[in-house]
Symmetry: C2
Subunit: 255 residues, 2 copies
């Protein structure tokens, strides 16, 4: 029975986390170590300027699951668990189910993805799951069989060094999900705006606001296209950010 | 005269930021928008759960430089500036000089690099500069000519879409710096440990601690190798994390 570590970025009480933990009970022994509150768009972080707390959580998950809430970033949850908070060797780390998609360059901001990246740094296979709906109480049920299939396949096949799977599931009823597409990262088109307001004392403050981002929905083979078409998108991503195909052109600059 | 936006992750009062801003005065008009305090290992973030403040800062930088301190992440500083905090079109974003290297998979945690990645999302060329020394009051003077040369070249040649330069400078006297090497991202070997302590009330808390990370110093052509050899390392990195060479093997799993 594999040991499965679960975390997320929506926090320990998020419905998507409970769905993922419950689904994983079919595959192995499950531990949950998740942020004590919402850490969306938190990025890949390492908290070193202050100590972290890890409090046991009762009554939230099925009784076979040991759970902790941590006052740090999603990646901190993975790091402290694998460095010894839990005295068991983990076989895989799964993250989510995130409330909202992680498509295109969203992955560079995503706390959900950072969980998986941190696991990869520790040498473990990892999968990040997101449901492409912003409703925190969306129906996570149709995801169940896909969570289990993709995690089981990852346990069986393993992943290359420093590589994880980024999975995005369309918010559709089970019968409308069209199957899996292996995809590449697409390009997001952000529509953020700066909302300047004046406080009661006459001084400005700023909200980063805006509407749901778009992207290259027409670009076949991208994660954004696949989810838009009703497919479960599976994108292999890795920790090597080098733009290899630009190396020779850069070498030719007048250094 | 190009408009140059500067930020960092060590905060508005870091000596490396002042060196970078001062060096950039030779190339154009300079704005500084930086976190009000240290945000090391902060990752690529977008602060949307609360508003941000941007306070004008006086007396820290040369008089020609307009500067703001923001109570957010490094990437927030770039986003709010480019969305309208400063009503001028920027031509380039430069970040640093970070106190400490950003080598190998450090780039996924790095606030310094996240400044440049955020600029790339906004379609601007960007360069992240780090001095490979952990001394906050290290000698940033020898970096000056390299900061100017690399930024001038980037302004002149431009960069491919969604691509930035990650520059690491060895902490050596000017005459010992051996020149520029164009490099690929190397592999870090982290040596973190979990330091568990018991508080005065009998409850545990945890520090993520450890010693300076190692890496593939022997792997010629990597950023880690170059800095170890006394070269200024210039690595092109981008926002596409897809592991393209694994797509076909992943397609062949039993889906």
């Amino acid at each position: 029975m594999p040991n499965i570590l679960i975390s997320n970025d929506d926090g320990i009480f998020a419905p998507g986390l409970k769905q993922l933990a419950t689904s994983m009970l079919a595959l192995g022994k499950v531990w949950v170590v998740a942020p004590k509150d919402n850490q969306s768009a938190s990025g890949h972080r390492k908290t070193m300027h202050r100590p972290l707390r890890a409090n046991p959580i009762y009554n939230v998950f099925p009784p076979d699951i040991v759970a902790y809430a941590v006052d740090g970033a999603p990646s901190d949850c993975v790091a402290i668990t694998l460095m010894g908070l839990i005295d068991e060797p983990m076989d895989i780390v799964v993250s989510g189910i995130n409330s909202g998609p992680n498509l295109g360059q969203d992955v560079t901001y995503s706390g959900t993805v950072s969980v998986a990246l941190e696991a990869a740094i520790f040498g473990l296979p990892a999968v990040a799951f997101s449901l492409s709906s912003r409703m925190i109480d969306a129906d996570y049920g149709p995801s169940d069989s896909w969570l289990r299939q993709i995690t089981a396949q990852t346990l069986q096949n393993g992943l290359p060094h420093h590589t994880i799977l980024n999975v995005n599931i369309p918010p559709l009823p089970a019968r409308e999900l069209r199957g899996i597409q292996i995809t590449r990262q697409g390009r997001r088109d952000y529509r953020d705006i700066l909302d300047e307001r004046i406080d009661p004392f006459g001084k400005p403050y700023y909200w980063i606001a805006g509407t749901e981002p778009g992207g290259d929905v027409e670009a076949e083979g991208t994660d954004i296209w696949a989810v838009n078409q009703g497919y479960v998108s599976v994108t292999p991503i890795h920790l090597d950010l080098t733009r290899h195909e630009f190396l020779s052109a850069l070498q030719a600059w007048e250094w």
